[in-house]
């Protein structure tokens, strides 16, 4: 269940991002983002809707093609987006991470187990027996042993999202990306999913989490970055950034989230 390589806290960079930018039409969504993702650490992205959190995650996974800047992994050639990268380099970036979506995006025509095995067996061509054993182990860990042969529509939102997490874990990625993993859930189902993510953090997984759950970010993240209008306005230790933000814009945002009326 833990990541393959043991990770000392505050370890070396897994990915470093320089000057990453992305424009949709005339609308700049990311403006020169600099970011370092360190092994075994959890980075929380907070900020208003439309600030670029989701686009940033999608660029890290290659689902969205950044149009400027670089993503570097130690020991590899930098991936430069000023010219569109080759498919194989993009695939290499994608293979590094597993992503959990806000709306789960499970495959509705496949059972829970088939959803989880699609990556390791069909794409990565790992032996089916071995992949199945580890998929069942993961499903047991998230409390879904009874549901392995159920279809997604037979599950609650919280259960579907746990399957979404297991599907990402089964890829054995170096990095887990969470795109507002609890935003679509019923309030009473949020806790289960957050607890699971917290356990994964304790196991040493490297994670980037876009979230509106500030209390959760404070507890789980090693670092919080506040995004606004496509830039990282400030970043820092969660308790420092969330209690004592430096920027007026951050203060405003936190105030509105913590005191909605």
């Amino acid at each position: 269940m833990s990541p393959i390589e043991a990770s000392p806290p505050g370890g070396q960079a897994l990915l470093s991002v320089h000057g990453l930018s992305k424009t949709f039409g005339a609308n700049p969504v990311l403006r020169s983002i600099d970011l370092t993702i360190e092994r075994g650490r959890v980075l929380a992205l907070i900020g208003p809707s439309g600030s670029g959190k989701t686009t940033l995650l999608r660029c890290l996974n290659g689902l969205e093609l950044a149009d400027g800047g670089t993503i570097n992994a130690p020991g590899e050639l930098p991936l430069d987006f000023t010219t569109p990268p080759t498919r194989s380099r993009l695939n290499a970036l994608r293979d590094r991470s597993g992503m959990v979506f806000q709306h789960y995006n499970l495959f509705p025509h496949k059972t829970v187990l088939q959803n989880v095995l699609e990556g390791p067996v069909v794409v990565q061509r790992r032996p089916r027996a071995e992949a199945t054993a580890s998929a069942l182990e993961l499903l047991a860990r998230v409390g879904l042993s009874e549901k392995t042969h159920a279809y997604p529509f037979q599950l609650s939102g919280g259960q579907q999202q746990r399957v979404g997490i297991v599907r990402a874990l089964a890829l054995q990625p170096q990095l887990l990306l969470f795109d507002e993993p609890t935003s679509a859930l019923d309030p009473e189902l949020v806790g289960d999913v957050l607890r699971l993510i917290k356990e994964l953090a304790a196991d040493g997984w490297t994670m980037v989490i876009a979230t509106h759950e500030l209390e959760f970010a404070r507890e789980v993240a090693h670092e919080v970055a506040f995004l606004d209008a496509g830039t990282i306005l400030e970043r820092g230790h969660p308790s420092q950034l969330l209690r004592n933000p430096q920027h007026e814009r951050t203060r405003q945002f936190l105030h509105r989230v913590l005191h909605p009326f």
């Binding site: 597993g98 995006n105 495959f107 509705p108 699609e118 794409v123 990565q124 599907r167 890829l171």
Partner: protein, 224 residues
């Protein structure tokens, strides 16, 4: 029409040639044309959705031509027209060619719409786990699109079964041509053509039932 026993005799004796026409010709012609037509339709749908302007333009022109010209004219061009440029097809292959090309044109738009109806998140989840475009299509998108396209494609198929009666005009001895033969001989047009209509109707009823159970089967993974 009175209940003349000789008419019932005629009805009875014409039934087998008509049903035989259905079994030996109408149904296989429809099934083969539909199968080939679906492949053409899938190819056209993917061309329409591709980023290549040439591919999507070609597909668009093809669909426009097929939908904008009568099936009977298409059939005549293939059977009576092509020989003048040295391509001579027998009646049966001519009919299958015309019907397949026709189904391809109509089915393409159905399949394209069905592919577009699959939420973009499905493509993203498939890419996320490392699938290629082609594999995403075949394993994730098309199975979901298939469910959506069963009702409209069933319509296309049922229309096709009835349209095969046009093949009688290029001398294929299918269901309707068998009825025509007996009618011309006995001069009982009303009786024989109603009998032909009845057999078409029974075939289409069976197909509608099959559509229902196919939909149920494909719906097993969807909330109701």
């Amino acid at each position: 029409m009175t209940a003349d026993p000789s008419r019932w005799d005629l009805f009875g004796s014409a039934l087998w040639p008509i049903v035989h026409g259905a079994i030996a010709s109408t149904i296989p012609m429809a099934v083969v044309s539909f199968a080939i037509g679906l492949l053409i339709a899938l190819a056209l749908a993917l061309m329409r959705l591709s980023r290549s302007r040439f591919a999507s333009g070609t597909a668009r022109l093809y669909i426009s031509l097929v939908r904008g010209t009568p099936l009977l004219v298409q059939l005549f061009v293939i059977f009576y027209g092509l020989p003048s440029i040295g391509i001579v097809l027998q009646p049966w292959p001519s009919a299958v060619a015309a019907f397949s090309l026709n189904v391809g044109g109509y089915g393409a738009e159905v399949i394209r719409a069905a592919i577009l109806s699959v939420p973009p998140g499905q493509w993203e989840a498939a890419y996320m786990i490392g699938m290629s475009h082609r594999r995403t299509l075949s394993r994730i998108i098309l199975p979901q699109a298939a469910r959506v396209s069963v009702p409209p494609l069933s319509n296309t198929f049922i229309s096709l079964v009835k349209d095969t009666s046009l093949a009688s005009l290029i001398l294929v001895t299918e269901l309707f041509r068998q009825a025509q033969k007996v009618a011309a001989f006995s001069q009982q047009f009303m009786l024989l053509y109603l009998e032909a209509a009845l057999v078409y109707w029974v075939v289409c009823l069976v197909l509608s039932t099959a559509q229902g159970s196919l939909e149920n089967r494909l719906d097993r993974h969807v909330a109701h």
